[in-house]
Symmetry: C2
Subunit: 503 residues, 2 copies
């Protein structure tokens, strides 16, 4: 199947029309404040990076929440409180500017694990280094994911207020310290009555991000797949049919193998093609792509050459040798059942004559609208139970459903308006194949628009030498000050777009 | 299926009839020599243990062969030569005693890997320690598997000669240094013209072993399953359908997964019951158990209570909840396809959002007569090819077919005669579920009887604190001197039985 490319898509528009300053009162004064406070902002970002919260390692979990609360108060939120959960606490803060419109903000204050030996500069130091062809970048764990963009957003709030103005919108901030471990307990934060009440009054929620490409273009994302991680375990711990430890392999002649049992259970979860999920009822609630989504995908394909994508991913072919645009439609539209890892018995070089006492598969679902986490987990369990796999233990370690936000929501309209006014070329991605917990706002009962927004640039999330651009050598790409001003402008555009009605 | 127990089986006979000394001339003098040379024998065993040959680590491979050659010369072999192979060299030695009968001896001079931190005394020292309820034991890597029993056999040769007698049989010794890595190159040693020629004149080949139980009973084994180890690998290295490294798991929506592909290939190798091999034609050459074999199994079951076996193996049930005797018949008769290990993608705690770039299963066949290694490997490859798994790489890392020796061969008759004369209770195991490369002698073109023989006792093969009994605290169990004398007696009984005709 090849798709015709629609000529009507909005992607890659680069209208350099009315400058944003026309909409942002006292813009020059605010910009001057931003420049004046730059050193303070960089120091604040470095201090934050020096206190990494890593939920998987229980590192700085209460400390990180308290730090987050103080950052909110310092940025002008009048109220900020810790919301305890069964895991790492969240933070809830409000800034009442007496405005008509209230905007929700989502922060993550945790970061991914890191190994200092893999870094060129200490990961908690925030060294400023020259980055070939980009400019000056701050290097540290969390630099782009997500402390850099979040600090730029806080700097925007401070600059508006420091220049003697009230914010054009009221703010509700919710922050979590478990984003990197699939936001397991974050729904508890949002379910707290005062938090839910406050969020329900917002026009939507966004997370600050540094999403500018090397050519200066930006991207609007209208949603993301959900992700659920789970493990299947079979062995002596789940049934007395299997040995409790690895034993001599000759015994397989009379003793069942947890490894074969796992293979048999796994085999039922995917069709023989090795990729189509075969869990009973899996596709029941899957919404097909709309024509608009297909058009956006086809347009996006033009900006990202097929050979580059294949090279980056290290493959020669897509599933079923499909053409590129079809592979991109799959990426956006297909709910997957992926094996993240397999481990059983002997895993060293060559062989070893053992019958494993335990076999584990690590899997993950990626969900699309209108699937839900509960639905996927229930279907998996029913599927295995129906086939008698009661000795296969299912452990869901985390996850959430998909999210999807209307192109015509205030949150998205404001992004388009801002990009068009400031001449930022942009594209629209109908749905990220990767995941973020937007569903916590996007799903019931809040049903809010949820998005990522931000200019500026960075990279190396989850990798060594993570970076965030401070001073850009290319005027089309934003450094820290310009990224901060983009948040200033965005708040004014949101206020303006909100007057037009639709959430 | 339950089996009736035959009353005619020979197992557990404990006829303390004519003492072996009636058959061994000058037995008292030889026994005195054995006692006198005890300290020398222990020192020789320690020196040998101090020079471990480990093929997997390429440790002492030429040195171990040369040491083995010297041991043979020291024990009275007139000729001893190194036989080079593509891997670790073998040793071939002959001792011409001018006798009518020639006996083949198989030695392994290599040992299993060891981790000194897991041992209570240094694994290369050969410390003598008191073993609760057993006596004084020598502790070291190779103590029982197989240097202790082999040294006792060499001591027997020396004692006969030191007492001024010629051996009652001529000897052909073949030794290898790759037993612990599945005897990959040993067939090359046996195929050397001078070795084949010499072996073809023997009445059979045995490997010295310390196989006495704690109650003093012995066991005669009439064969062993074969074992073949192999690995299945799928990934970027086998097809450009798969990524070359682990990549972000969202890509599984458009990129094939080596882990699913491996699951699909594995699934075809076993029936849905999780244990019956499903490789095309797998059972074609499998010989069913004879009534005699079934009788021996049923008799053996009586000596090894079911609950003890289950406890030792850490299981509550046998395959298909079968009764004990049936499970033992399975152990002896079923050719298995076992998964030794699985490894793919992320294997740490919890999950990680990756699509693996590689998936590997480590497997092993156990073969029964009349299957062969070549047959099993060919059938596996044809099975996978027929189903289009040309992207699944098969690597056979080693192995050999099953062996089986007639109860009426001289080699086995001599064991029965010896046990009966000396009043050693014994049982007969129709086939070991574990494996040893007896097929190298047992199969074409030599077609020789092949067996293990030896009294004395030890344990901990392949484990820390491996031991070999030197001085037994129980008169029914043999220490080093008595085990040595058992080899002396065995050589005379072999000569005597050989006169009766049948090989």
């Amino acid at each position: 199947m090849r798709l015709k490319t629609s000529l009507s898509v909005l992607a890659l528009l680069a209208i350099s029309g009315v400058p944003a300053s026309a909409e942002t009162p006292d813009r020059a004064a605010i910009a001057e404040t931003v420049a004046n406070q730059r050193d303070t902002t960089i120091k604040a970002l470095r201090d934050w990076i020096a206190l990494p919260t890593i939920a998987a390692e229980k590192m700085n979990t209460p400390a990180g929440a308290e730090y987050m609360r103080q950052l909110a108060l310092d940025a002008g939120f009048q109220k900020a409180e810790i919301i305890p959960t069964d895991g790492v606490p969240g933070v809830f803060a409000t800034l009442d500017a007496g405005a008509k419109t209230t905007l929700g903000i989502y922060f993550m204050y945790d970061v991914k694990q890191f190994d200092p030996s893999e870094w060129n500069s200490p990961p908690l130091e925030g060294a400023i280094v020259e980055r070939e062809g980009e400019g000056k970048a701050l290097v540290g764990r969390g630099a782009v994911n997500q402390k850099g963009p979040e600090m730029a957003f806080l700097a925007a709030l401070k600059a508006i207020q420091a220049s003697g103005r009230k914010l054009p919108v009221n703010l509700v901030l919710v922050a979590e310290g478990e984003e990197e471990v699939a936001s397991t307990n974050f729904p508890q934060v949002v379910a707290a009555p005062q938090v839910r009440e406050a969020l329900s009054k917002t026009i939507g929620v966004f997370i600050p991000a540094a999403a500018q490409s090397k050519d200066g273009s930006a991207n609007i994302t209208l949603g993301a797949k959900g992700a659920i991680e789970f493990q299947l375990v079979v062995g002596g711990e789940t049934s007395d049919r299997y040995p409790k430890t690895d034993i001599h392999s000759s015994n397989h002649a009379r003793i069942e193998s947890p490894a074969w049992r796992l293979v048999k259970a796994l085999d039922t979860l995917a069709a023989d093609d090795g990729h189509t999920p075969a869990i009973d009822g899996w596709f029941e609630n899957v919404k097909p792509l709309t024509q608009r989504q297909k058009d956006l995908i086809a347009e996006g394909a033009k900006r990202n050459p097929e050979e580059d994508a294949k090279k980056l991913l290290g493959v020669g072919r897509w599933i079923d040798d499909e053409p590129y645009v079809t592979s991109l439609e799959r990426l956006v539209s297909q709910p997957t059942v992926n094996i993240q890892g397999l481990i059983a018995g002997y895993t060293g070089p060559g062989g070893k004559t053992v019958l494993p006492g335990r076999a584990e598969a690590k899997l993950e679902f990626r969900l699309v609208p209108a699937m839900t986490k509960d639905e996927a987990v229930s279907k998996l369990k029913a599927h295995l139970a129906k086939r008698g796999f009661d000795d296969v233990q299912v452990t869901v370690s985390g996850g959430y459903g998909p999210n999807e936000t209307d192109e015509d929501s205030t949150l998205i309209r404001a992004q388009k308006t801002l990009f068009e006014r400031t001449g930022i070329p942009y594209s629209i991605t109908p749905r990220n194949a990767g995941s973020w917990p937007g569903v916590i706002f996007n799903g019931a009962p809040l049903n809010l628009p949820a998005s990522q927004f931000g200019l500026g640039r960075g990279g190396g999330a989850h990798a060594p030498n993570e970076w965030f651009l401070i001073e850009s050598s290319d005027p089309k790409v934003y450094g820290l000050d310009q990224a901060t001003m983009a948040y200033v402008d965005y708040l004014y555009v949101v206020a303006e777009e909100a007057k037009k009605g639709k959430k």
